[in-house]
C-alpha cells in the first residue's frame, strides 16, 4: 500500500505519496477558491521537514490549514523514515495557574479533524486531546502530529492537555511530538505507581530542556483507572509537583476489579481519589458519563461527584459541559453564605474580637479559609466569559 496520511472524512484531508515524481496534485471541492491556499501550506511543510522532492497527491475534504499541514508532515515523514526533519511551530502559549478552575475535562479524539474543528469554542475548562483509546494503533503517529499542529495553530482560551499512551506503548514518542505544540499538561492513563509519574516527569524535564521551556512548566494529570492506581493514589498524588489534579477512569476500573458500574461499586475508588488529592493539595476530577443523550443522568452523577468532594468531571461531548459546569460551580446560596462569613470576620477584626461569630455560631479558621477560597473561585469563574462555560 502507498504511504498515506489522513482520511476522506469531512474536515480531513488525505495525503498520499505519489509513485512518480510529478510534483503536487491537489483535489478539492472548491479548487478554484481553495487550491492555491492548500498548495502553499503543503509546500511550506515540505520545506520545513526537508522533503521538497517528495511528490504528493492531496485530496482535501474541508480540512483547516493545520490539518493539511499535519497530514502532509505525517506522509512526508512516513515516506522517509530515516529523516529527522519535523515541523517545529512557534507557539506563544504560557503555562497555566496550578489552581485554576477545572470543572470539566472534555475529551476529543486526537485523529478526527471533524471533531477537533471548533472544539475550542465550547468553553471547557480543560480540553483533552486523546492519543490513547480513541486512536487505533495504525494512526498513532499521524495523531500525535495532528495534535501538535492543532495545539500550535489554535489560540485556545481553555487549558489544553494531551492524553498520551502509556510510556512503554508509545507515550514517550507522544511527549516528544506534542510538546512542540506547548500543551499546558499531559494526562497519563493507567497510572499505577509513583514510579510511572517520575518516569513521565523525567521525560518531560528532558524535552522541556531541549525545547527551552521552563523546567516543570508542563503539568500532569494521572488518570487512576486500575485497582493498583486506586490503592496507590496517595503516593501518586504526592509524587510530583507537576501534578495539579487526579482523574478517575471508571470504565477500566470496573473491568479491572470485576465490578458492575454503579454508584455503590465506584464509591470506594471515588472517595479514595478525593482523599488522596486533598491530602496532596491537588484537584480531583470524576470519571466521564458516556450517555450523551441522558442529561438527567449526567446531572445526578455530577451532583454526586460534587457531594463526594470532586472539583470536576470528564465530558465526552460539548453538550455535557453546561450541566457539568453548573454542578461544580458554587451555588448562589453558597456564595452568599461565604460572603457573610468573610464580612463577619472583617467586622470581628475591626472590633478587635478574637472570635468570629455568624448567626450566633462560631466560625472556625478552616471555615473562614474555605469561604475565602470559594469567593476567589467564583470570581475566577466569572472572569471566564460564557455564563455556562
Amino acid at each position: 500500500m502507498s504511504v498515506r496520511s489522513g482520511s476522506e472524512a469531512k474536515g480531513d484531508c488525505l495525503v498520499e505519496v505519489a509513485d512518480s515524481a510529478d510534483g503536487l496534485e491537489v483535489a478539492t471541492k472548491n479548487a478554484d477558491l481553495l487550491g492555491d491556499g492548500i498548495r502553499d501550506v503543503v509546500h511550506e511543510v515540505l520545506a520545513e521537514v526537508g522533503c521538497e522532492g517528495v511528490a504528493l497527491r492531496v485530496a482535501d475534504f474541508g480540512g483547516l490549514d493545520y490539518v493539511i499541514a499535519a497530514r502532509t508532515e505525517a506522509a512526508a515523514r512516513a515516506a522517509d523514515p530515516t529523516g529527522t526533519g519535523r515541523v517545529t511551530p512557534a507557539v506563544d502559549r504560557i503555562a497555566s495557574d496550578r489552581d485554576r478552575p477545572r470543572r470539566s475535562r472534555l475529551y476529543a479524539p486526537g485523529n478526527q479533524p471533524r471533531l477537533l474543528a471548533g472544539i475550542d469554542v465550547h468553553g471547557a475548562d480543560c480540553l483533552l486531546f486523546d492519543l490513547e483509546d480513541s486512536v487505533p494503533p495504525a494512526e498513532k503517529a499521524a495523531a500525535r502530529i495532528l495534535v501538535k499542529h492543532l495545539l500550535a495553530a489554535v489560540p485556545f482560551r481553555d487549558e489544553v492537555w494531551v492524553r498520551i499512551n502509556p510510556l512503554e506503548l508509545g507515550g514517550d514518542a507522544d511527549v516528544e511530538e506534542v510538546l512542540l505544540g506547548r500543551p499546558h499538561g499531559i494526562c497519563l492513563p493507567k497510572a499505577e505507581s509513583d514510579k510511572d509519574i517520575r518516569a513521565l516527569s523525567e521525560l518531560l524535564a528532558r524535552v522541556e530542556s531541549d525545547l527551552r521551556y521552563d523546567e516543570g512548566s508542563t503539568w500532569i494529570i494521572p488518570i487512576l483507572e486500575t485497582a493498583q492506581g486506586i490503592l496507590h493514589s496517595e503516593a501518586i498524588a504526592a509524587s510530583s509537583d507537576r501534578i495539579v489534579m487526579l482523574a478517575f477512569g471508571a470504565e477500566d476500573y470496573t473491568r479491572d476489579v470485576g465490578a458492575l458500574r454503579s454508584r455503590r461499586s465506584l464509591l470506594y475508588a471515588r472517595s479514595a481519589i478525593v482523599a488522596a488529592a486533598a491530602a496532596a493539595g491537588v484537584q480531583a476530577s470524576d470519571t466521564v458519563f458516556s450517555d450523551v443523550n441522558d442529561d438527567d443522568g449526567l446531572r445526578k452523577e455530577a451532583e454526586l461527584g460534587r457531594e463526594l468532594g470532586f472539583d470536576g468531571k470528564g465530558a465526552v461531548n460539548p453538550r455535557q459541559l453546561p450541566t457539568i459546569h453548573r454542578a461544580f460551580s458554587p451555588t448562589d446560596e453558597e456564595l452568599e453564605r461565604a460572603r457573610a462569613i468573610v464580612a463577619a470576620a472583617r467586622e470581628a477584626e475591626t472590633e478587635g474580637l478574637g472570635v468570629v461569630a455568624l448567626d450566633g455560631r462560631m466560625i472556625d479558621r478552616p471555615v473562614l479559609d474555605r469561604a475565602k477560597r470559594l469567593i476567589k473561585y467564583a470570581d475566577r469563574l466569572s472572569e471566564g466569559g460564557d455564563r455556562d462555560a
Binding site: 469531512k10 472548491n30 491556499g37 469554542v121 465550547h122
Partner: protein, 514 residues
Amino acid sequence: MRNGVDREIPEQIGTRDVRPYEGAYATVRTDRKVARHQKWSSPQDDKVLPSIEAAIEACGLSDGMTISFHHCFRNGDRVVNQVLDACARKGLKGLRIYATALFPVHEPVIEHVKSGVVARIEGSMNGPVGAFVSQGGQLAEPAVLRSHGGRWRAVEAGDVEIDVAFIAAPQADPLGDATGIRGKTPCGPIQFSAVDAQYARKTVVVTNDLQPYPVHPFEIQAAWTDYVVEVDEIGDPENIVSGTLQLTRSPTNLRIARLTAEAVVASGVFVDGFGFQGGAGGISLAVTKYLGDEMEKAGIAAGFAIGGGTKLLIDLLHRGLVRTVLEGQAFDLDAIASLREDDGHVAIDPGFYANYDSRSCATYQLDAAFLGATEVDLDFNVNVNTHSDGQLLHGIGGHQDVAAGAGMTMITVPSIRGRLPMILDRVTTVTTPGEVIDVVVTERGIAVNPRREDLKDRFEAAGLPVRTLAEIREEVGRLVRPARKPVFGEEIIAAIEWRDGTIIDVVRKVEGWA
C-alpha cells in the same frame, strides 16, 4: 448605478427598467394593484379535462407565455416536469417559468431550456438548474429571484402577468376547489398559489385525488379555477422532508442554537405571548427545541409562531408552549396532520404573512426570528443566494420578509464551513440588507448590529459572549489561508429583488479567479 447597499447595478436588466433598492421601507406606492381577469361560468359548466395537454389547448397556451407553479412538494414534485414535457410535445417555445421554487428533481428543466421550450425562469433555483443558469448565456432574460412576499407582490402589482397557473392539488373537486392538507398525497398548504389562481389568465388545478364537491378547506377556490385535470401522480410527500430538516447533531451547530436561544431569553422580548419564527434547517430546529425548554422553565408560552410547520413546532403547540402556529408551508407529515386536527394551527398565504404592498403582515408581528445564511459581511448584509464561488445555489424563501419584519432578527451561521469563512468583508451577493439584521450568532460568539446597543447591553449582562464580526472574521482567518474570489464579468445571470420590487443586487457570470 450604486444602490442603497452600495452594489453596482445597471439601469436596465434585460428588458426591464431597474428601480434600485434604497432602503428596507423606502418604497411607498400610491397607485393601484392590477385588476384580475374576468371569469364566467354557467351552472352546467364541466371543467374536468382528460389530460394536461387538453388543458394546455383549452387555456390557449402559446409561445412566449408565462406558466406558474408552487413548490409545496419540494424535491418530490411531479407536476412541473409533466407540464413542461407536455408543452414540449405540443411544440411550444419560449415559455417563462414562474415557479415559487425549483429543486434538484427539476433537472429536466435544463433540457427544456436547451431545446427552447423554456426561455426564462423567475423563482428560486435550488441545485442543478441554478448551476446551469450560472454558466450564463442560457436564458433569454436574466433570472429573477424574489422572496415569498415579493413573488406575491409582483403578481398583484402586474410586474409578472401569469398566463396559465398549474396548481398541484393533493385533493380537489370537479369545480376546482382544492387543498393540500387532504388527499392521497398531502403536501401541506398550497396557498402559495392562491395569488396565481386569482390573477392568472387561466388556472388549472392538477390533482391525483378528485373528490365530489365540496373539497375543503378552500385554499384554491372554484371561483378562480378554469380547468381541473386528474393525473396519476402529482408528487411524493416523503420528499417534502429535505435534508435540511434534520435536527443538527453537530456540536458547533448545537452551540450556535443554544447561544441563539439564550440570546432570545436575554433580549427582553422573551415574555408571555411573544411571537417567533421557527424555520427549517438544522440550527433553527434546534433553537426551536431549546426555546421550548426555556419557555417551559420560565412558565411562559409564545402567543404565536410562524412556520415552516415541523414536528418540533407541533410538539410545542401540543405542550401549550405555543398558542397559535401560523403555517405557510409544511416541512413534514406531522405538520400536515396537525393542520387537519389542531385548533391552534392555521394555514396562511404569503399575501397574509409577507406582502410588502399590504396594510400589515404577519412577519411584522414577530418579536424574534432566527434565519440561516451562506455568508454575512461586516455590514451585517446576508447572502443566501450564491455560494462563495459565485454560483447560484438557493432561493430567498421568506428570508427578506421575516428579517424585515421581526423585532429582533438573528442570523445563525457557523463562522467557517469546511475551509470557507462565512464572515466576510463583503458578501458575494446581498440578499438581505444589514439594516434589517440585528444579531449574528456564530459558534465563536454573538455579534450585535451597532444600531442595537440595547441588545448588546442585555446580552453582556447575561454573560453571553458578545464579539464583533471583525473579531470573529479575524479569528477564523488564522485557521485558513484566504480563499480566492470569483471575478465577475458583465453578463447578468440573475437579479435579486428586494421584497418591494426594487433591485438589491445582481448575480453576474463568473469569468475567473483573483
